[in-house]
């Protein structure tokens, strides 16, 4: 459950990302593939050539989903149900990978916001993204 302060932290940070989903998502994916090369196997179309346009396009898609999660923080299950189905039936990303993506997400935030990336923001986003990951993997079995 997210407190009122946590929700405020989440929307405050999202307002900084909104409009830049593609660049944020592309950097996120680039960090993921560089730091955790085993994750590349889940993105065969992307990671072979790491074409900038493709990274931007897929990054945009991923961050748009995060944006949807932000809009529906109080009802993630309903809002993310189609994505949960996709992950359970088609993508089947091992749940151990979500913390890796979350770490890279935090690093993108931290490297751009720097001193403005407060501990409260870090705590709220870590909790929020972990909740999103739980919902996305909930239908796996």
């Amino acid at each position: 459950m997210l407190s009122a302060q946590e929700r405020a932290q989440i929307t405050q940070v999202w307002d900084l990302i909104a409009g830049h989903e593609a660049q944020f998502g592309a950097e996120l994916l680039l960090r993921l593939f560089t730091v955790y090369p085993s994750t590349k196997g889940y993105f065969p179309h992307l990671s072979a050539c790491q074409d900038a346009a493709q990274l931007l396009s897929h990054g945009q898609r991923m961050l748009a989903a995060v944006g949807a999660a932000v809009q529906h923080m109080d009802n993630l299950r309903a809002a993310l149900s189609p994505l949960a189905d996709l992950h359970a039936l088609v993508l089947r990303v091992d749940p151990a990978n979500f913390p890796l993506l979350i770490q890279c997400f935090q690093v993108v935030l931290a490297s751009h916001l720097q001193a403005e990336f407060t501990v409260e923001m870090q705590a709220a986003w870590d909790k929020f993204l972990t909740g999103v990951a739980v919902v996305l993997t909930e239908k796996y079995r």
Binding site: L30, R31, T34, Q103, S111, Q114
Partner: protein, 169 residues
């Protein structure tokens, strides 16, 4: 003895397991990325911040610090003198890792025993602290903390966590 994938040629697997020096290998570029950032860090401040953020973001880690006094809020935690002092101690020890990147298991053997036998710290906590440290580096260094630099540091914190868990029994 036939060659087994992953084994150092000429050494049987049992012998290799006893060799603490056969460890994670850091390339010259990785070492440079690590030492150059380390040289620019205020270890005392960063240590306090790393430990403080760990205790805030993952509040269950406070279980090891019941005698640290006021941990009631993020600002209380980050301002707590015992947190700062202990964070400094932890990160200073991390500096030993950086001087001995090719020999982490031996470097941390005693500390590993301490964390197991006396402190009873779940090694998962080393992983969490390492990740928090990487995030703090990102806040300090911004664009300079490129994916490649992040990769080198994640490799280091992961290797330190493994070394610290190595003597657990």
């Amino acid at each position: 003895m036939g060659q087994i994938p992953g084994c150092k040629p000429g050494l049987e697997p049992q012998a290799q397991a006893l060799r603490p020096d056969i460890m994670v290998h850091f390339t010259a570029e990785e070492k440079a990325a690590i030492t150059s950032l380390w040289g620019k860090m205020n270890v005392e401040e960063a240590g306090g911040e790393a430990l403080g953020r760990l205790l805030v973001v993952y509040p269950w880690t406070q279980r090891f610090f019941d005698n640290f006094g006021n941990l009631s809020s993020p600002s209380a935690i980050l301002g707590n003198p015992k947190v700062k002092a202990h964070g400094k101690k932890v990160l200073t020890s991390f500096g030993d890792a950086i001087k001995n990147m090719d020999n982490l298991k031996t470097t941390f053997a005693k500390l590993s025993e301490l964390h197991c036998d006396k402190l009873h710290v779940d090694p998962e906590n080393f992983r969490l602290l390492g990740n928090v440290l990487v995030i703090i580096l990102a806040t300090h260094f911004g664009k300079e903390f490129t994916p490649e630099v992040q990769a080198a540091w994640q490799k280091l914190v992961s290797a330190v966590a493994i070394a610290l868990g190595h003597k657990y029994h």
